[in-house]
Symmetry: none
Subunit: 412 residues, 2 copies
């Protein structure tokens, strides 16, 4: 079963808004076993809308359209759909009454523009929109379905969930698409691909593997299309269990889990606490933990020691160490993690000190040189890492690498 | 001049990610006078890619493709482009050398997959990607241009800004679209719209105003299409100068400037220093400053005092105050800002303490209650703010509000 998503409106084409509707609709359709072949955004132009909808009617089973059905002049989707389905606009009594009542409640005058909202092509079935003024329209032709939805996200979502998805499930018989994602951390994409290439080659024919890199790690997604759900779920589960054995320390978990989530879970489970001393990451590392609720269960505090004075006065890094080795050094990273652990009285601590760039690099210590350290009940470790990236990415990657160093110690 | 944006990758079609690249690219192309007719997302399938690129070559002048050029087996864009432009894959020596050096710096083995990244269709011009392993490829046919970019947002953005846009401007003659954006902070969208409605009504006929709200403030964009650049630039400049007089304390500046940038500029200019004490913002507030290079010129350090022990032991907040008023209170906010200023020896300091949610609210102090305080040479001030939002948004908005409090003191 194939579908296409069409978004209508100039605001996307001029880059004024990010289209979040498409991703949401795609995900819901995938859940019920519908495969999206294409998503497309066009402007409020009759010729483009006709072209697009006619192609979709030829090439796919289900077409979901959002946008362009407001009351103003630039919104022409409804008139164009009336043309495509060779149908006059007629008043939908239920919509008319609903709009009249709703506007009365809000104390808004029921004007010509609102009245026009109750006019729909005679060929469509109206799915009532309880959260706005534009009705949802369902069209059929030769066993194909075209649905027109408002572009306002919460109106669209409520209509999709409550009316469109159930009606699609009544109209068609769906097979299942199954997807599952695993998160890895610590191997570059090319290295990971090499290490797991035998595993990849040995996957069942109908399982598709995709690599999805982001600063939190590289996600691996296994997908199966048009399958028996249970069989595919078991096959994917088994494949990932095998993968775990191949890369045990790099395999973080399933879904959108991050190294920070893994560390947080372990600390909470063991009743252990964490503090952090940051230099080059400047607060971003602490923020990785505190962005999630429940952080106060294990996170006690952190010091962002940007200047050498704060490194010395607050964290107790020795002036000799700063002078002899420089702020970006193994010794300073160690004294920082030990200092903040002592200061905050935590079980574990993490520190970072490095050159995020774009300025401040030297021949010895180029931009992207970062020392990370972890201190805990069984001692202190430190590691040097090097990134070649923009400032923001260097900060994100240093943060993730430092958290991962703690993770490796916790799971040892 | 017409353009099309094509996004390649199954992750969009299954709804796993929201496509933010398209909006960003559309906005940049609009800035230089290019009109986007359609944006389209397709999967990693050769037939779909060929169809889509061939149609674009017939119908528009410029085609921008993102995604599908990683080193792994699921990425087939490069091979398909080689087919479309009837061209063999050859090794690009500059890319080869760059990849080799970059991976050596990172200590990653230069394997077969990386070597394959340096292979490009002979027909293309390579625009070097300094932030990743996939090169950007520029193709021409019959006066039309096709550009293939990596899908990783920061790599794509850096390539577009530094190489693709300048090369497009060399290749084509664009008529002018003029856009300029001003940033405001501190007024809700509906209030701002009311306050400036006379100004809006008095704008020149050909100037279009758009409201673009985000957590850093509400941006106002004035646009003029197909105009004489100089005339439009002067008219827009004049309009914004008038706006400044209407909302002097809410008008932050032009472009993507934030309240943190304004504060940073003033502190650097005056040679003053800043420290921060954070509770509910958990490092995110410090990160607003340290994300920009040059932060070390004024930012000395911060303390994230999540637990009461750290508030007391490190920042010197009195235990009586914590017990009597609770951690989320004016008194604690004040002692935090004064404490961190003393500890770090800075001229100014900011503090935050609040309930970011979703848990931890009470009837007295519901989720979204935040106290912010600023301490400086002329004393300490504090302010209570209330947000009704999700945790992440509450953190972002508290950070921005706290920085704005310092800005208002600095410009007084």
């Amino acid at each position: 079963m194939k579908a296409r998503i069409i978004t209508i409106g100039d605001e996307i084409l001029i880059g004024q808004i990010v289209d979040t509707n498409t991703s949401w609709i795609a995900s819901r359709l995938n859940d019920i076993g519908v495969t999206i072949d294409t998503t497309i955004s066009i402007g409020d132009r009759e010729d483009a809308i006709i072209d697009c909808v006619e192609s979709a009617l030829r090439e796919v089973d289900i077409t979901i359209i959002t946008g362009g059905i407001g009351p103003t002049k630039d919104d022409i989707t409804k008139h164009t759909l009336a043309k495509i389905f060779k149908s006059e606009l007629v008043r939908d009594e239920a919509t008319y009454q609903f709009l009249k009542d709703m506007l009365a409640t809000r104390g808004v005058e029921f004007n010509e523009l609102n009245r026009s909202q109750a006019m729909v092509p005679a060929a469509c079935t109206v799915l009532p929109n309880r959260n706005g003024t534009a009705p949802c329209m369902w069209f059929e032709r030769g066993g194909k379905v075209v649905v027109s939805l408002p572009g306002v996200p919460f109106e669209m979502k409520s209509l999709m969930t409550e009316l469109v998805i159930p009606k699609l499930e009544e109209t068609f018989e769906f097979t299942s698409n199954v997807h599952k994602t695993a998160m890895t951390f610590g191997l570059a994409e090319s290295v990971l691909a090499t290490v797991i290439s035998d595993w990849e080659d040995g996957l069942e024919e109908y399982l598709h593997l995709a690599y999805l890199p982001n600063p939190s790690g590289i996600r691996l997604r296994l997908s199966a299309y048009n399958v028996e759900r249970e069989v595919a779920e078991i096959a994917i589960e088994r494949a990932f269990e095998e993968l775990k054995l191949i890369i045990p320390t790099y395999f973080i978990g399933y879904g959108e889990i991050t190294v920070a989530d893994v560390v947080a879970n372990i600390l909470i489970e063991r009743g252990s606490t964490l503090s952090i001393a940051e230099s080059c990451t400047g607060g971003a590392l602490s923020s990785r933990f505190t962005i999630n609720s429940g952080a106060s269960k294990y996170f006690v505090g952190s010091v962002v020691s940007y200047s050498n004075e704060v490194k010395h006065n607050v964290l107790g890094v020795k002036n000799e160490t700063l002078i002899k080795y420089g702020a970006v050094s193994e010794q300073v990273a160690r004294e920082m993690s030990e200092g903040v652990r002592r200061l905050c009285g935590s079980d574990y601590s993490i520190s970072t000190t490095g050159i995020a760039g774009p300025d401040g690099g030297t021949e010895d210590k180029p931009v992207g040189t970062v020392w990370i350290s972890v201190s805990g009940p069984s001692g202190t470790v430190a590691e040097k890492i090097t990134f070649v990236s923009l400032r923001e990415q260097n900060i994100m990657r240093s943060s993730a690498a430092a958290i991962n160093l703690l993770r490796l110690i916790l799971i040892k």
